[in-house]
Symmetry: C2
Subunit: 387 residues, 2 copies
């Protein structure tokens, strides 16, 4: 992700509608400041400043296990959870441990661009199946599985952001989740559930997670503090079977460096134990809901009728489909001239051409006036390109 001050290649004063990070004015600065200020008084500093336990900050593990069990009745124990360097750290670790170059994995089309980038860095064969408004189309996933099997391949895992997907903002329906779990047992692949947005639900209910539906069997579920606290702390968590967690904890990287970011993990642990997090999440939901509403209202009022978009009930993103006559590259070039930057749909597909008429807007980062202005400029450009 790009820094929020002057993202690389973006002129100051421009409108970065691509920026998938939280608005800096939504970060709980004062609360973190209080926690850090208090933490130095009379506590052991080793917990903050020396090498940490490979599994991660024990207080934070305890807090998260209790929270997950209380809210979702997951029945996990501390052996099922480890602290990681954001969801990113988990995706990197899992990919490193579960795959070798040339292995196949399964993803949605579209899927999270930066995760695809990681998978390409590992030399993986990425098999994508299209999604609709309820998530991956299971028949298409199954077709990929049969084709892989015919060529003697077993995919290592299915990577998915099941709730408020990046880039589409959709929620995978519970029945789809169940069918994917069935396939994962039949074809013996793991499910990597990148569950980073589910706390940012604006309305309605979410289906149970893959981890809950599968009773934890062969599911690795990632969570993060990046969306509901602060990404710069680089703290997330992974829940999985005790055997898998033990395997990761025994890895050379954790042996050498100790657990994930002891300093910021201790800050996060103290923040969570202060009770501030739940109230902050509650407040954030209102803040992001308002931004989502403003973005959708701007789209409704500015976009030509041939443009379609998702109406997410949580998360950070809206996914647009341009009319056949408007290519995203052409729109991108013209938008940049006006200082408007969005995430081209092409980056979210294994085959970039599949995203040639799509783009992702983020409503998490920009002040609402800029969000509206950016969408208005896009609407105007598209209207002129159609005409």
């Amino acid at each position: 992700m790009k820094p929020d001050s002057t993202p690389q290649g973006v002129v100051a004063g421009s409108i970065p509608l691509f920026a998938g990070h939280p608005s800096s004015d939504l970060l709980p600065v004062e609360a973190l400041q209080r926690v850090i200020g208090a933490a130095w008084q009379g506590r052991g500093v080793a917990r903050f400043l020396n090498y940490g336990d490979e599994q991660g900050n024990p207080q934070l593990i305890e807090f998260l296990v209790e929270r997950l069990n209380r809210r979702e009745n997951l029945g996990i124990r501390r052996e099922n959870l480890m602290i990681i360097g954001g969801s990113t750290g988990g995706v990197g670790m899992i990919t490193q441990h579960l795959t070798a170059p040339g292995d196949a994995i399964l993803v949605d089309a579209p899927s999270y661009r930066d995760a695809l980038h990681i998978f390409r860095d590992h030399g993986l064969e990425i098999c994508a199946a299209p999604i609709d408004d309820d998530g991956i189309i299971v028949a298409e996933l199954e077709r990929n599985l049969r084709e892989l099997k015919a060529s003697g391949k077993t995919p290592r895992f299915y990577y998915v952001v099941p709730s408020f997907q990046n880039p589409s903002g959709i929620i995978m329906a519970v029945e789809r989740r169940r069918e994917v779990i069935k396939l994962s047992r039949e074809y013996r692949f793991a499910i990597v559930e990148d569950d980073v947005y589910s706390d940012l639900r604006f309305e309605g209910a979410l289906p149970p997670s893959f981890y809950a539906l599968a009773d934890g069997e062969n599911v690795l579920r990632l969570g993060t503090f990046s969306k509901t606290l602060a990404p710069g702390l680089r703290i997330g968590w992974l829940i999985a079977s005790a055997e898998r967690i033990a395997g990761f904890v025994e890895s050379g990287l954790l042996r050498m460096g100790g657990g994930a970011n002891p300093f910021s993990a201790a800050v996060v642990a103290d923040y969570c134990r202060s009770g501030a997090w739940e109230a902050h999440i509650q407040w954030l939901r209102g803040q992001y809901r308002r931004r989502r509403d403003i973005a959708l209202a701007a789209l409704d009022s500015c976009m030509p009728k041939d443009v379609e978009w998702t109406r997410p009930t949580g998360g950070y993103f809206i996914w647009l489909r341009l009319p056949p006559s408007v290519r995203v590259d052409a729109l991108d070039a013209r938008a940049k001239e006006q200082g408007v930057y969005f995430a081209s749909g092409k980056g979210f597909f294994v085959n970039p051409e599949d995203g040639a008429h799509h783009l992702r807007l983020s409503f998490s980062f920009l002040p609402v006036a800029e969000l509206q202005a950016g969408i208005e400029i896009l609407g105007d450009l598209i209207a002129r390109m159609i005409a």
Copy 2:
């Protein structure tokens, strides 16, 4: 690395002579506290709490480039340096990018145990050549290179801790460094220089680094704040060619998660810019020198005459050779009964049996009374095992 409070599997009240981390009473708590306290006042919090630049905190990059050029006349620019999650983060990233399973790499025998663990996790063929008091024996390294070549293999890199090696504490002589660079050009392998202890020099001078001697050509040099500031901050740096740095910066992991640990990197940047670091390093040298002196004096007075050990002029470690009649496993078992834990030599060799009469002691972590007591117990046990 294990946490310093109650390292896993170690009974409280015992003497962990294995612990390769800084003594918690040598961490500059007050100075860090001041820096963090000041940082919240009137500055942009995004620098601390939001996603960061993929290359890392810009102020810290600037500080390190200036320091390295001033002290070593390296002539590097900001394009040659990136911030990483401790030296560990660099070893992981380099291994991920430069190797595929089955590739060969070159190491010392003995070599740093946790780095070997990372290389094994990546499925690499690890070719070790023995060291003497001046570092790797070049003829043995060359023999490995010829054998690899004969089997059609090009090793991807040579991994080395050239100054105050882990576990031996030795310094590789400048002539050896030059010969290795010559071989690296002939056989076309990179040099990964894990330069984590060189600021902890107690006396004498160090040879120029591999990076300096090779004019940066095909050398990746790692540095860290773990040994001279605080490991829990998880901040280090990598210097390499601009092309290599650009390649790492463009990776999926950094795209997804942003630069290494923005929060603690900002703390480290402010600490460094306050001018406190150089004075702290100077002070640490005296502190660790004293611990080294006490450990060597204890060894001189307690060890039976058939035991040999290195006399490091910096770093954290002393490397012991036991007499042929004493196996490290047997000593380990008896020492544990007395509450003394050391790092068995076996972990530092690709072929564990090569370390069956070696052990590593760390003088960095324990209070001096425990350091002395632990060495006395070991001396007593070894004497009884010889008798």
